[in-house]
């Protein structure tokens, strides 16, 4: 492949400010409408099991799309993505759990839809994302010196170290009084349950929040791909030295891609941790889970946002569908993976997006690959 081909840059359009603002709002509003849309299906079209599966798909999509920013767009190779997710999940869990204890004296769900509890939860997801982004910065820094596989191993080491550290955490404190009387020894390392996992979190995640965060992630990722940073990322993927020589600050862009991906993974971790029937556990940070997300991005196609979404939904749904085969499903899954790599190594969509296949969009503009 050639280095980033000079793609036609859209000319500055002469628009009124109001129009531009409106235009800017349309897309996020679409996202909100999507969130309300899927939420309205919950309980009507989708039963509880479908809902859980749909939420899993949504969270998996977020993780795949975010990982694709590092692995697909920037061409780095991170095998520690689950670590970022777990970090976000634990952080956001601590915020909602201990926040609820302090505010309301109980960790149970507070308020109905859009009640106080849900806003705390939404904020906690963002907090999880922020903490995770900080970790992303730290993990991204070695990319100053390391390339390719070496960086991959460092990220893998990060996930494994995190897993062991999470196992050493203290047990969860159950009440406000307990929290007030807790000694330092019980608070450091943080009381998030150790090997059992962090359980007892209020279960706030529903299709609305998954839908909302997912659509924001996707909008962000698609716009990122077409932005200046995104183009620098793609340039680095295609040829690091060439992009360096044309003035791309390679290190900064790489670290940024890590920070962004980690932030989104952290938010997804927050959603993951607050689902019914889940307690987030140390092994969620391990490499096996990271592999799952890597597989999704690769199957989808490198740098393709919609491709990773499709792959994420297929790979999350496939095991459910194969559930009746029980012991054979991992075998089928592995064989499919190998077959896919042999037959269509560029992934489902290559580096294109789904709309690039629809003729009326293709006509309208050149696409950044």
């Amino acid at each position: 492949m050639t280095a980033a081909a000079p793609s036609p840059v859209a000319p500055v359009q002469d628009e009124s400010l109001l129009r531009a603002a409106l235009k800017g709002l349309v897309v996020p509003l679409c996202g909100v409408a999507f969130a309300f849309g899927v939420w309205s299906l919950e309980g009507r079209v989708l039963d509880a099991y479908d809902t859980v599966t749909a939420m899993n798909i949504g969270v998996a999509m977020m993780l795949a799309v975010s990982l694709n920013i590092v692995n697909g767009m920037t061409g780095q190779f991170s095998i520690g993505h689950a670590g970022f997710m777990a970090l976000g999940g634990y952080t956001s869990g601590m915020v909602t759990y201990y926040g609820s204890l302090l505010l309301w004296g109980t960790a149970a769900r507070q308020g109905g839809p859009f009640g106080a509890g849900e806003w705390l939860f939404a904020a906690s997801c963002v907090a999880g994302g922020l903490v995770s982004a900080c970790a992303g910065y730290v993990v991204g820094l070695p990319s100053l010196r390391l390339r390719g596989d070496y960086l991959a191993i460092v990220t893998l080491g990060f996930g494994e170290i995190l897993r062991v550290l999470l196992q050493q955490t203290n047990r969860v404190i159950g009440s406000r009084e307990g929290l007030a009387e807790a000694k330092w020894r019980e608070l450091i390392p943080p009381p998030v349950g150790g090997a059992v996992g962090f359980n007892g979190l209020p279960k706030y995640t529903n299709l609305f929040w998954v839908g909302l965060f997912l659509s924001l992630t996707v909008i962000f990722a698609v716009r990122l791909k077409r932005s200046a940073i995104g183009r620098s990322m793609i340039a680095i993927r295609e040829d690091e030295i060439a992009s360096y020589s044309v003035g791309v600050n390679v290190t900064r862009v790489k670290v940024r891609s890590f920070v962004i991906a980690a932030f989104l993974a952290g938010v997804a971790g927050g959603l993951y941790a607050h689902r019914i029937g889940v307690n987030i556990e140390p092994r969620d940070a391990g490499f096996q889970r990271s592999f799952e997300y890597i597989i999704m991005t690769v199957l989808g196609g490198k740098g393709s946002v919609t491709g990773s979404m499709i792959a994420a939904s297929i790979l999350t749904y496939l095991p459910e569908w194969l559930r009746d085969f029980d012991r054979y499903r991992m075998i089928i899954y592995a064989s499919l993976l190998i077959a896919m790599m042999l037959l269509r190594p560029q992934g489902l969509l290559g580096s294109r997006e789904i709309w690039d296949f629809l003729p009326w969009f293709r006509k309208r503009r050149g696409t950044a690959r």
């Binding site: 991959a152 062991v164 075998i331």
Partner: protein
């Protein structure tokens, strides 16, 4: 003092196992520049084949006074053959068609192969999902008992099994060293590793060299699996996470030593084993894996290509 020497002894034994496995990673990486994640599973297969063959032989022979001494080498040879063939097949079927694909794709395929091996191994018809007990093909008397201080104080024990592991691993590594640095085949391997296309132009059959590399790596892995089963007779089922972790640690050894470098793998294996054992003994056993991975990160930051790796310079 006794404890120190004992830990040292364990570290040497474990280190030779890591080094044996690391060799497979490092050879494949040296030539094809990708992490063969399925290598760890070949080790598992080696261990389980050893178990199956040993069990079958013992059932057939039903010796009255323990397994005969010749059984060990026979079992080892069987495991090496099966794993060698498997290594060849894996390369031919899964990796060869991807020779020109991006490295990431080959890596994914390797993960796929690894998942496949684990889950097929776990089927009841193959190895099953329960842990098994490897029959003791070697007696394990204490070869050396060193006592520091007066009677009653703890002493250092070096068993026959540990000694065998150390010696076998050492011999295999010497053999490999000879092949790579002293024979024409080894020269061809190094040439392919240096630049596959140029090597092909010089009349080297690169595909054959790559197959050979895979087979050699798998044979060493089988040996490691066999020795592992000798040292730790309780064998975990093939899909156990711990096997992946074993593979990862061996891989980390290869990276720390300088991947692509045969001597580096040896050095890395011992470094990792020392850090792990001494860390667990003197600091805390809770953080065993942390020591390994933290050391990895530190070494990579100081020397990005490992201790013995050659720093690479990029040309435009």
């Amino acid at each position: 003092m006794a404890d120190f020497v004992q830990t040292l002894e364990t570290a040497l034994a474990v280190g030779s196992l890591y080094a044996l496995i690391a060799l497979g990673y490092t050879m494949v990486y040296g030539i094809l520049k990708f992490i063969n994640f399925a290598h760890g599973d070949v080790v598992v297969l080696g261990a389980w084949i050893s178990y199956t063959v040993a069990q079958w032989c013992l059932k057939r022979l039903a010796p009255a006074d323990g397994p005969p001494l010749w059984l060990g080498p026979v079992v080892l040879a069987c495991a090496m053959t099966v794993c060698g063939v498997l290594g060849f097949l894996i390369e031919r079927l899964a990796y060869k068609p991807l020779r020109r694909a991006p490295r990431l794709n080959v890596l994914i395929t390797a993960i796929g192969v690894s998942l496949l091996l684990q889950n097929v191994g776990q089927l009841d018809a193959v190895f099953g999902s329960s842990p098994v007990s490897m029959p003791a093909l070697l007696p394990n008397p204490a070869l050396v008992r060193m006592s520091f201080g007066g009677p009653g104080s703890s002493e250092v024990v070096i068993g026959l099994v540990d000694a065998t592991i150390f010696v076998t691993a050492g011999l295999l590594m010497l053999a490999l060293e000879t092949i790579v640095y002293r024979t024409r085949l080894g020269a061809a391997m190094r040439a392919v590793s240096f630049n596959a296309e140029t090597a092909a132009l010089m009349g080297i059959n690169a595909n054959r060299i790559i197959s050979f590399t895979f087979v050699t790596g798998s044979v060493l892995a089988a040996a490691a699996g066999f020795l592992y089963a000798m040292k730790y007779p309780g064998l975990n089922q093939p899909a156990h996470t711990i096997w992946v972790l074993l593979g990862l640690k061996a891989f980390v050894s290869a990276v720390i030593g300088g991947i692509g470098n045969v001597r580096g793998a040896l050095l890395g294996g011992f470094v990792i084993a020392f850090v792990e054992q001494f860390g667990a003994f003197y600091i805390s056993s809770n953080y065993r894996d942390v020591y390994v991975f933290a050391l990895l990160i530190i070494i990579l930051l100081i020397r990005p290509t490992g201790i013995l790796g050659t720093p690479y310079r990029e040309k435009v």
